[in-house]
């Protein structure tokens, strides 16, 4: 064998060895080799979409914040010392912000929290079996800098964005909040955050990238990052200036009337768009842990209550639409209290108005007069209209915690139930259902489902949100008749002293007793006022409701003045000149 052949064989063997080795790396040892050593797979968290008011100002945006972790095996100081250094920064933001003004009780609470946190951190850091341990999430940039100044080896940070509320607690119950789910992912709860969670959260991306030993990307390698898709942003119909003004007036009114709580809803009756929705007391979503959980639900859509007299226009609308009565029909049972199935039905002030017309029945808020209307209307028609007006079902508003209210089953309705329901007792409705129903009267009988979000926008485009339901509930003529009755009620009824003289406002007061354990509490009421203006071309419909006002139990002395005070501001906002 000559030397050339020997050389050929050597080349052949060397090539075979190289090919075999490459095969081994490529196929047999691929997983352990590539993923452990060079291929970096990590999730890229998406930014959550913003929530913006109708002027484009963010009511909710994102703030830079961080997850703090430790690698116990890399720690150089002892866990106790590190825990002592870190704990004061990782407790509730209530104590850690520079602007925090702490009372003595707060300082004591802070001391306890620091001690608990210190123990928690120490336990985590002492476990040397752990390669990586999470110490805190959503800590601010300010806190991150303070921790960095401590120069503790083995402590690191990862981006972990959190929500920021530029207007602080404004519209908190409408917005909802973001918290962790069972697996630690950001999830929206309540209000818009809850309802639109899927749109807001976006899609996480993935980074799959080969790196060289220095950690730099190898471009010819498997460089395949999947970018995170940012969550869609919500553009609301809520007007920030109206919301601000309403909250301010409502806060003062709740205090003035000594009410347990107060709620105001303002909507555009023509398209169901919510312009403002406020409840006092409220909470700060950035520090929600410091507030009672009962405040998280939005009472404007979640609370059910017996509406009382503000329900009378609905019954009257049904009776007028079915031609059961006319505006000038005279009540022949209105001369005194009425006895039905062992119950006495009387007026709120024990004053009676014999032969009053239907317009006067609404003006005087006459319960006995309403039993006359209900008798003419009948149970079947009453229930049919109540359902058409959207009671007993969700309105379809885009807020998570909406409830349906309560209507007893059709077969359970007796005459006494019909009579009491005709003036708003014995049925349970939500504030938003009432706004929707009265909006239909203001909108020529066309019922439109309310909506808070006008538009959903992501990087690719925008989607306009249209109301799902548009139902002609009553005829435009009936709507006009009820409107005139409500205008008359404002001008000549109980609220006439607080109503503005130069605008035509359609409205109705309500004072409902609160049912407790099978009877009504004689001292506790829900005072309310609902209406719209200007009556001939409404720009807004508004509900004001106070629970258990202590200065006066009546809607005409609490809710009505608040309604007109807000309405005066709205006239200026919309540039509505005086009509008279």
């Amino acid at each position: 064998m000559d030397r050339l052949k020997i050389l050929q064989i050597i080349f052949f063997i060397a090539a075979a060895v190289i090919i075999f080795r490459l095969f081994y790396w490529q196929f047999l040892a691929k997983n352990s080799f590539s993923s452990d050593a060079f291929l970096i797979e990590s999730e890229i968290p998406p930014s959550r979409g913003e929530i913006l008011a109708n002027d484009g100002f963010p009511l909710v945006t994102n703030q830079e914040s961080f997850l703090i972790y430790a690698k116990p095996h890399e720690l150089e100081k002892n866990p106790q010392e590190i825990a002592q250094n870190l704990a004061p920064f990782l407790i509730s933001e209530k104590f850690t912000t520079d602007s925090a003004r702490l009372s003595d009780a707060d300082k004591e609470q802070m001391k306890n929290e620091v001690e608990i946190k210190e123990k928690e951190i120490k336990n985590k850091l002492s476990d040397k079996n752990l390669f990586w341990v999470q110490l805190a999430r959503k800590v601010t940039l300010e806190t991150k800098k303070k921790v960095e100044e401590k120069k503790i080896s083995g402590i690191g940070f990862v981006q972990d964005e959190k929500r920021f509320y530029p207007e602080a607690s404004m519209a908190a119950q409408l917005l909802g909040f973001v918290a962790f789910d069972k697996v630690g992912r950001d999830t929206g709860y309540f209000g818009l955050e809850g309802f639109w969670d899927r749109n807001l959260r976006g899609k996480p991306g993935r980074l799959g990238q080969e790196q060289d030993p220095l950690g730099l990307p190898i471009l010819v390698g498997q460089y395949r990052p999947v970018p995170a898709k940012q969550g869609s942003s919500l553009y609301l119909s809520v007007a920030r200036d109206i919301q601000f003004m309403v909250e301010d007036k409502l806060r003062k009114a709740v205090e003035k009337y000594g009410a347990k709580d107060g709620t105001v809803i303002i909507a555009d009756p023509k398209n169901g768009k919510i312009l403002a929705m406020a409840t006092i007391p409220t909470y700060d979503p950035a520090l929600r842990g410091e507030f009672d959980e009962s405040l998280y639900k939005n009472p404007a859509v979640a609370d059910t209550f017996e509406p009382g007299s503000i329900f009378k226009p609905i019954t009257m609308a049904a009776a007028l639409d079915t031609k059961s009565v006319e505006p000038n029909t005279k009540c022949n049972v209105c001369s005194g209290p009425r006895q039905v199935a062992g119950f006495e039905i009387s007026t709120w002030n024990k004053k009676y108005h014999p032969d009053s017309t239907m317009t006067e029945v609404i003006q005087n808020s006459d319960n006995v007069g309403m039993t006359f209307v209900a008798e003419k209307l009948g149970v079947k028609n009453f229930l049919s209209y109540v359902e058409k007006f959207g009671f007993g079902q969700k309105t379809g508003i885009d807020l998570q915690e909406e409830s349906t209210g309560f209507l007893r089953p059709d077969e359970d309705w007796k005459q006494i139930d019909l009579f009491t329901a005709s003036f708003g007792q014995g049925i349970a409705v939500t504030p938003i259902q009432l706004v929707q129903a009265i909006s239909a009267i203001a909108n020529h009988g066309l019922l439109v489902s309310p909506k808070v979000v006008e538009k959903v926008a992501d990087g690719q485009g925008e989607e306009e949100i249209e109301p799902e339901n548009q139902v002609q509930v009553i005829s435009p003529e009936t709507a006009l008749q009820v409107t005139e009755m409500m205008v008359n009620a404002v001008e000549y009824g109980e609220a006439r002293f607080v109503a503005p003289k130069d605008y035509r406002v359609a409205g109705k007061t309500g004072t409902a007793q609160i049912p407790i354990a099978g009877h009504y509490d004689p001292n506790k009421t829900i005072a309310s006022f609902i209406g719209f203006a200007p009556a001939d071309d409404p720009k807004f419909v508004m509900l004001v409701r106070f629970t258990q006002p202590s200065s006066s139990p009546f809607g005409s002395e609490t809710a009505a003045p608040t309604f007109f005070e807000i309405a005066k501001e709205l006239f200026i906002h919309f540039g509505i000149p005086p009509e008279k």
Partner: protein
């Protein structure tokens, strides 16, 4: 018929000729391999530099995005109605008593 000695000589010459071709082929292959090796080195060097540049650019993007987020938060904090109304009150602004509607 050729004499035996001529046949042997011819065979040797042919072998000598064929061996020369093989050597030339190997030289060409070796040269090509060397050239490719150095070309790869040049490209790999370029890629390594590009990788470094990309890493730098990504760092820069992240830094700018982070600054944008901070600025956006600062702007919204300062222009919120809550802080504006507070400032207006501190500076002695009052609500207008007369309003002219169009």
């Amino acid at each position: 018929m050729l004499p035996v000695s001529d046949f042997k000589n011819r065979n040797k010459q042919e072998k000598k000729h064929t061996g020369g071709v093989k050597v030339k082929l190997m030289v060409v292959i070796s040269a090509a391999a060397t050239l490719l090796f150095f070309t790869q080195l040049v490209f790999a060097n370029g890629l390594a530099t590009d990788g470094q540049k990309i890493a730098q650019i990504e760092d820069e993007i992240q830094k700018l995005e982070s600054e944008n987020t901070i600025l956006r938060v600062e702007i919204s904090k300062k222009s919120s109605l809550v802080s504006l109304s507070k400032k207006a009150l501190e500076d002695g602004f009052k609500k207008p008593s007369l309003v002219i509607t169009p």
